[in-house]
Symmetry: C3
């Protein structure tokens, strides 16, 4: 139940972020819905396709569709008020990333993949919805250009595989990894931590 | 046999629309063929990938490849004449959308999906070839910006699931849904019906 | 062992080409790694998804990830020196294309597909990593616009299916097809052979 609530909150935050990007591009209602949809479930869809776990996740229950449709209607109606919710949305989004990463890692473990591939799957789950959103909107994906985001997922995933070596039961590493992802992203944004610059001449 | 002919006509119309977009972008012969190909079979391919029905549809027989290759050669040779065929192509395209939507819905039913997911699959089958075409040509997909198109597919799909509740045999709802999609698109284009505008300030 | 070495060299060349494109776009370290990754394994991934052979190839062993990560680090450190290696990289790339095409064709044969689909799969394996790279970097894919590249793969594939009709054992057609692809690409680049122009008025 707890996970379910977090999953729904993350889906709402992702869908709303999709609506905001789509409305900046002046898409019509259908376009806005599709962008919200792929932002929210695109990462999980790509993960399921890569490991062959089909029908993909959002086809198996109507929860995702209903949640996203509700989020889209809400976001369109209150688009002007959403700027006051920016911090709340950012928090949902960050919590969503933490949870989605661990959902992807668990799926990788169930599919008997080696740890590094599980971490990849977790990162894909959390971040590739935004990549597909940006491609559909004809932009270079924002996570390829700045912000510690995918890096927080990778870091949290590595910590998870280290923590499960320790003699603790299964939920402690799981919860810890989610918290590590959330906290490292919050700290990175707060203190403007970025990846090392790889362009020598123009620093 | 009847369905087969319609399927081929729809494929031809979609492939030709791909050629026209690709030639505007000055792609070379290979690029034009690929764009025609993804426009014609991209929607069905995405549908098959999402439900795990692989190898995807166009790999199972050479009909699609031959039809598309023929359409590409025809369209390149007669590109200047095609403008006089615009209405015929639009009609093929609209018929194709109607049929492709129902093919997708049938596939969803065979895969035991709930009605809303079947309608999604039908809409994806009919409209995502064009989405992939536009992405490969570095444009924001046209169906995200204007035109009742995907909306006609969704509307026809909803009608289908209502009609099969009635005590009629299987082909009547099927044919009716195809006609509803075709007619609603023709009416929408004729009377310039669009989705409700979601941008308040700039109407 | 021989194939393995070629496969690794091809992967390195593809990954480095990804790094160079990504650094032109000023992506950050994560973006550069992802672009290198999709350039190197994107074609094989799409092939595996289309035929339903999942988990996709790079998930089954860490070789690809390690090779690509090493190539990315190397390319970032020596980006200024890489221009002196342009010919070497081009040769690796061309050898990679030859081998990747035949890997894809073999996969298609194992999946009982007809020859034309096997050739498609081979071409996808060799060339769609670059297509996905260009889409993620917001460019129209370069292979749709110029250069005999995919055409060399298709030509080599056709030769392969002709050669296996002859009473020779399995490795001769295989090696011959790889050499045909490599040589036809080298000749096409050397003598600036292109596809026939399909735009009448502006020759």
């Amino acid at each position: 139940m707890f996970y379910y609530v977090i999953d729904i909150l993350g889906t709402i935050a992702f869908a709303i972020s999709g609506v905001l990007v789509a409305m900046e591009k002046k898409l019509d209602l259908f376009g806005v819905f599709i962008i919200a949809f792929v932002t929210a479930v695109g990462g999980g869809t790509l993960r399921d396709i890569l490991i062959g776990d089909t029908p993909v996740i959002w086809m198996r229950s109507s929860d995702y569709v209903i949640t996203i449709a509700g989020s889209v209607i809400f976001a369109i109606l209150f688009v002007n008020q959403l700027k006051y919710l920016r911090k709340t949305l950012f928090l949902f989004d960050t919590i969503g990333i933490g949870l989605f990463t661990m959902v992807g890692i668990e799926k990788g473990i169930s599919a008997d993949l080696i740890p590094i591939m599980c971490i990849f799957l977790g990162t894909i789950t959390a971040s590739f919805g935004g990549v597909i959103r940006d491609i559909l909107c004809n932009e270079i994906p924002v996570i390829f250009r700045r912000e510690i985001y995918a890096t927080a997922c990778i870091f949290g995933g590595i910590c998870y595989f280290l923590l499960i070596q320790l003699p603790w039961d299964g939920t402690i590493p799981y919860i810890s990894a989610i918290l590590i992802i959330i906290i490292s992203r919050l700290l990175a944004v707060r203190f403007k931590i970025t990846l090392p610059n790889i362009y020598r001449n123009e620093k």
